[in-house]
């Protein structure tokens, strides 16, 4: 891979700052894990996250004791926070896969500095997402019934149900993401093994590095494997959230039964995912002094992807409203009208504000390259995407076909406990990750440096 020479007109800096050498890159990234002292800030952050994680513990325990009735779900709104948060978390994961797979295949070298972190984020987000459907079954200890396995009931799961497709989509996604992430880690784990000072650390990282010795044969196999995994992961970027959208689109509920759902969900997923990468990356690059590796160019690029997907999502909202109007169907028309003016109208307009209006600021390069403002925008987008799922799930369900079965949905304290608990779990995992594993792909960064290019002897 060539070091990227940027045309002058882009004044946002290179993918890696001048002055770095092969050794300095390794030192800097590996040093965060091996040399950096445990700081008070990190301990505080970890403890805080871990404390919030206990909400999940309490919420899940109470749920298992009492049943799903402790949540705010009811008839007609049988899908509450569980589905909203599931879709939200799964969506967040998508940025990681996009960055690691599609951008790899497209040879986008700026991804090298952020892909490891984004993949870890994917993995953790999918873990959080997985909690919700399992808890929503009400009897999580029987969740294995979702899998097709030989059983004494002579039964298969319902293969015609999109909820089962979800099971396959998400487990495949988790497996591929985990394998891809780990395979990518191996050369860097070997670097850590070789740099570590204490024998205990050396052996730990040595075990994890699986005997990686940097031989040419290893590298050749590595390249092949990561290319194949990227090929496997690429369709997942599109397919996973498509299947998630089928949970809605395959049903006949007004507002859900639309063909635009799959692309609109995928765009939304990437949108929220990039917002989350920005939310996490901006503080990390500041606290760990990584401004020279995760440069303004990265932030600029990610902000551009965020803006592009925001526009697709905006198109989706417009089309939803148009479909409702154009369908000439009483229920569809009422649904969209109720969504805009009904009891949950505040959520809808907040969502428009967060997801369509706010990202318009990203047209300005100045904003795209100012980390602080970008961070705030990214948080607003995260909230907006959560609101989107809330609006989709709740407004369509709470006004049933028959006015006699209309109802309202409000989350209970246990809904919030589980939701905030998964946020705590996510943050705990992120804090541990930045501490024990290299959060940036060292060897891929080194490839970006001028030293990495070897002049081939001219054949005679």
């Amino acid at each position: 891979m060539q070091p990227v020479e940027l045309p002058d007109k882009i004044h946002v800096g290179p993918v890696i700052d001048q002055g770095h050498s092969l050794a300095s890159v390794s030192d800097k990234v590996a040093g965060i894990v091996l040399k950096r002292k445990v700081t008070l800030g990190w301990v505080f952050g970890l403890l805080l996250s871990f404390a919030i994680l206990q909400n999940l513990m309490a919420g899940a325990t109470w749920l298992i004791i009492k049943g799903v009735g402790v949540w705010g779900i009811n008839i007609p709104v049988g899908w509450g926070f569980a589905i909203i948060n599931f879709v939200w978390w799964i969506g967040i994961g998508h940025a990681g896969t996009l960055i690691s797979a599609i951008l790899l295949l497209l040879n986008q070298s700026w991804r090298n500095a952020i892909n490891r972190f984004a993949e870890a984020m994917t993995l953790f987000a999918v873990m959080c997402a997985g909690m919700f459907p399992v808890l929503h079954t009400g009897r999580p200890w029987l969740a294995y019934w979702l899998l097709p396995y030989p059983n004494t009931m002579a039964l298969w799961p319902q293969f015609r149900s999109p909820l089962l497709w979800d099971v396959f989509a998400v487990t495949t996604y988790l497996t591929i993401s985990a394998v891809f992430w780990y395979v990518g880690l191996i050369p860097d784990l070997a670097t850590l093994r070789d740099t570590a000072k204490t024998p205990g650390l050396r052996r730990t990282y040595g075990l994890l590095a699986m005997g990686w010795r940097n031989s040419a044969r290893h590298w050749q196999r590595y390249e092949k494997a990561s290319l194949l995994l990227a090929g496997l992961a690429t369709p997942l970027v599109v397919s996973v959230h498509t299947v998630v959208s089928f949970d809605f689109a395959v049903s006949i509920i007004p507002g859900w039964h639309t063909t635009i759902f799959p692309p609109y969900f995928v765009a939304g997923a990437i949108y929220s995912g990039f917002a989350m990468v920005l939310t996490l990356m901006i503080p990390v690059r500041r606290f760990y002094g990584l401004d020279d590796i995760i440069t303004l160019r990265h932030l600029n690029n990610m902000a551009k992807v965020t803006l592009a997907t925001a526009l697709i999502v905006a198109y989706g909202y417009t089309m939803e409203a148009f479909f409702g109007y154009f369908s000439a169907d009483t229920y569809e028309k009422f649904m969209i009208w109720n969504r805009m003016t009904g009891p949950y109208a505040v959520f809808y307009w907040c969502l428009i504000l967060c997801n369509i209006i706010t990202p318009q600021f990203l047209w300005s390069k100045k904003i795209r390259t100012s980390p602080g403002i970008l961070w705030i925008i990214s948080i607003i987008v995260n909230i907006g995407m959560w609101l989107e799922r809330f609006v989709i799930v709740v407004t369509s369900l709470h006004r049933d076909f028959l006015p006699s079965s209309w109802g309202m949905y409000w989350p209970t304290v246990w809904d919030w406990a589980v939701y905030t608990g998964t946020l705590g779990m996510f943050m705990t995992l992120i804090f541990l990750f930045v501490r024990v594993l290299p959060m940036i792909t060292i060897f891929e960064l080194r490839m970006l440096l001028p030293d990495a290019t070897v002049k081939e002897p001219v054949a005679q």
Binding site: P150, N151, T152, D194, G206, G211
Partner: protein, 217 residues
């Protein structure tokens, strides 16, 4: 840099993959066999202790008492019914009147308190089951309960797993018999079951009831 691991570590690493697969696979299989599918779990073939060692082998096999003499509910209701003490006393007021084994029966008759039999065929509460429809459609007692005439103490002949129910619900023609032979023990079809079965299925209008809500109502 010194060597971290001995060269034998390579063999360990490689064999750990095989061992992991074998151990996890074996553990899964063993758990399934032991927990879900064993007669230990289903209590199939497990003769239960009863307050009185009532022998079906004696009453049905040697005496030739018909099932419905005692289990009066079987044709008309959901439960075949364990007979009241009065049914026992019909005969046991005349024979074995001094038997100490039968003292609990006489006591129950005197005090009007039921004998506390141990239920052998106990379906989970989430299963709806009705004897009468099965008897009406030509499912023999023996088909589910086995050779009761050979059981000194009652035991569960079948696993009562859902899989076992579905065997018949999916292919009733393999098990159905003419109505007049429903209570017959050791029944042999007069013509091959392959031809008799489908004929009876048509005649009795037997449906393949496979929906969840047939049994889980």
């Amino acid at each position: 840099m010194p060597q971290l691991f001995k060269s034998s570590a390579n063999s360990f690493a490689r064999s750990s993959i095989v061992v992991a697969v074998l151990v996890l696979g074996g553990l899964g299989g063993a758990l399934f066999e032991l927990i879900a599918d064993s007669s230990y779990a289903t209590r199939q073939g497990d003769a239960r202790e009863q307050p009185i060692p009532f022998s079906h082998a004696h009453h049905v096999g040697s005496m030739g008492i018909e099932c419905r003499y005692c289990h009066t509910g079987v044709e008309n209701g959901p439960h075949a019914m364990v007979p009241p003490t009065k049914t026992c006393i019909n005969c046991h007021s005349q024979i074995w009147i001094n038997s100490s084994t039968l003292e609990p029966v006489r006591e129950s008759y005197r005090t009007n308190e039921s004998i506390k039999w141990t239920k052998v065929h106990d379906l989970p509460d989430f299963v709806y089951f009705n004897h009468s429809i099965h008897v009406k459609k030509g499912v023999g007692c023996e088909t589910c309960h086995g050779r009761v005439d050979r059981m000194p103490l009652m035991y569960q002949n079948a696993s009562l797993e859902m899989r076992w129910c579905l065997e018949c619900h999916r292919n009733p023609e393999k098990f159905v018999r003419p109505r007049q032979f429903v209570t017959k023990m050791g029944y042999e079809p007069a013509e091959p079951q392959e031809t008799l079965g489908p004929k009876l299925v048509r005649e009795y209008n037997i449906q393949k009831l496979e929906t969840c809500w047939t049994c889980h109502r």
